[in-house]
Amino acid sequence: MILIAMGVVYLEARWTVVESGWRGQIDLLPVFAAYAALHGRVGVMAGVAAIGGCWFDVLSANPLGTSLLSLFLTAYLLHGMHEVLLKGQMAAQFFVCVLAGALNPTIAGLILWVLGTQPMLGWGTLWQVLINAVCCGLAGPVLFLILNQLDQNLSYAPTAKPWNRPVVEVKRSKHYHHY
């Protein structure tokens, strides 16, 4: 999952045509944070935030650690929902990814503003956050599907125990009659 996230961030940095058209750069990294958060794995959340966030900061002018904090806080805030949400539903995935896509740039912008690094903040930021949220929402269900499939194919699946089969377990009494 982290490798796919890194690939997605690299493509974002290469394909700037989208930015010219929509007046804002799209960042799909929050979708991966949302996926980790909804599947209730704090370790994976930390991994996505640490590796994905550092990779993002290395490719941008952000001070190192900005995206790590913003991604982890986004994932942590969404993690609270993982027990009450029907994460298999596309609508739920859409809304969670919209939330992640809006939360992550907001937190990152807030961190940069607090640090006094003079980022480009203004009314245009609202548009960029909105566009990012919608794009994350739309891309979310598709990425969730891919990640679920990968999770199923690559993760360890316990094999059925041969001695535990119901056929073996059937007990016959001595009064058993074969008709």
């Binding site: 010219s20 640490a50 650690g65 003079q118 903040l121």
Partner: protein, 288 residues
């Protein structure tokens, strides 16, 4: 209720983030280059993939099309050679006149081509990474150009990569002036500063030309070039054209919106103006 391992993970990630961000900017930048070194295999892999893609595209192009392109480029080269001959005469005449009035000799530009690797994936900055670094003689604050005009300046330098701050980024301010034309004599060449404006955020090609004298005549379409003041950038590099102008908020200065000549989102190659060995850029080029 949070489990103990969750609390440990939460605390360690938050502490790591806060510690990294509270480091001095220079240390943080150095750490970032170290982190970039860890990701170097991925950057190399992506570069190789890009090159393979380009070579795959060249297979598809027909030989006829290549020949046509070659012929067009030959014609273009000949035109440039003739223009250069004419320019050489002007330059030698200029040098002779400079010598007569004891002005400093104009230094020729020492250009280094560089390929754009990636553009900043965030919305907060206008920056990009190029594939040259200290090993190629790049130093901080080196001006970066494209054939259309000024692109920005080098802000951080690694061994094989550098980060360029683009014109319009809050950390890249450029001393500029209105270009001399038949309608605008030298005395009316108003000086100001090119910096990020309200429009820059949504349109990277639009920047703000500020601190212009209040009585300046600024027509839409007027060309804006670098002034060379401050020594950051050589004089006379095209920047853009004025879109409109108004008096600034406090009414002491005038300001104008400028559309940049370079499309910063579609850059593939850039040129760095390296300092000549022994030359001191801080004194500027036009000082006697």
């Amino acid at each position: 209720m949070l489990k103990q391992p969750h609390i440990v993970t939460l605390c360690s990630v938050l502490t790591a983030g806060i510690v990294l961000l509270s480091l001095p900017l220079r240390v943080n930048t150095q750490l970032k280059w170290v982190a970039a070194g860890l990701f170097l295999p991925f950057i190399g892999l992506a570069d190789v993939a890009d090159q393979k893609l380009e070579s795959a595209q060249s297979i598809v192009v027909s030989k006829q099309e290549l020949l046509r392109e070659n012929q067009r480029l030959r014609k273009e080269l000949q035109n440039y050679k003739i223009a250069l001959l004419q320019r050489k005469t002007v330059v030698s005449e200029n040098d002779m006149l400079r010598e007569e009035i004891l002005w400093k000799k104009r230094q020729p530009w020492n250009l280094l081509p560089a390929r754009v690797q990636v553009k900043d994936p965030s919305n907060w900055w206008g920056s990009l990474f190029i594939n040259v670094g200290t090993e190629d003689g790049v130093v901080e604050n080196t001006p970066v150009l494209s054939p259309q005009g000024l692109v920005g300046k080098v802000d951080q330098v690694g061994r094989h990569r550098s980060m360029v701050r683009l014109v319009g980024d809050p950390h890249c301010r450029v001393s500029a002036m209105l270009a001399q034309t038949a309608n605008r004599p030298e005395a009316e060449q108003a000086h100001g500063t090119i910096m990020s404006g309200q429009d820059t955020q949504l349109n990277p090609r639009m920047v703000s030309f500020q601190h212009l004298p209040l009585n300046t005549r600024i027509e839409p379409g007027a060309e804006v070039i670098t002034s060379g003041l401050g020594g950051g950038f050589p004089r006379g590099i095209p920047l853009g054209h004025v879109v409109d102008s108004r008096s600034s908020g406090v009414g002491l200065f005038a300001e104008a919106r400028v559309r940049l000549m370079v499309d910063l989102n579609r850059l593939e190659m850039v040129w760095l103006v390296l300092p000549e060995p022994g030359a001191d850029r801080s004194q500027g080029e036009e000082t006697p």
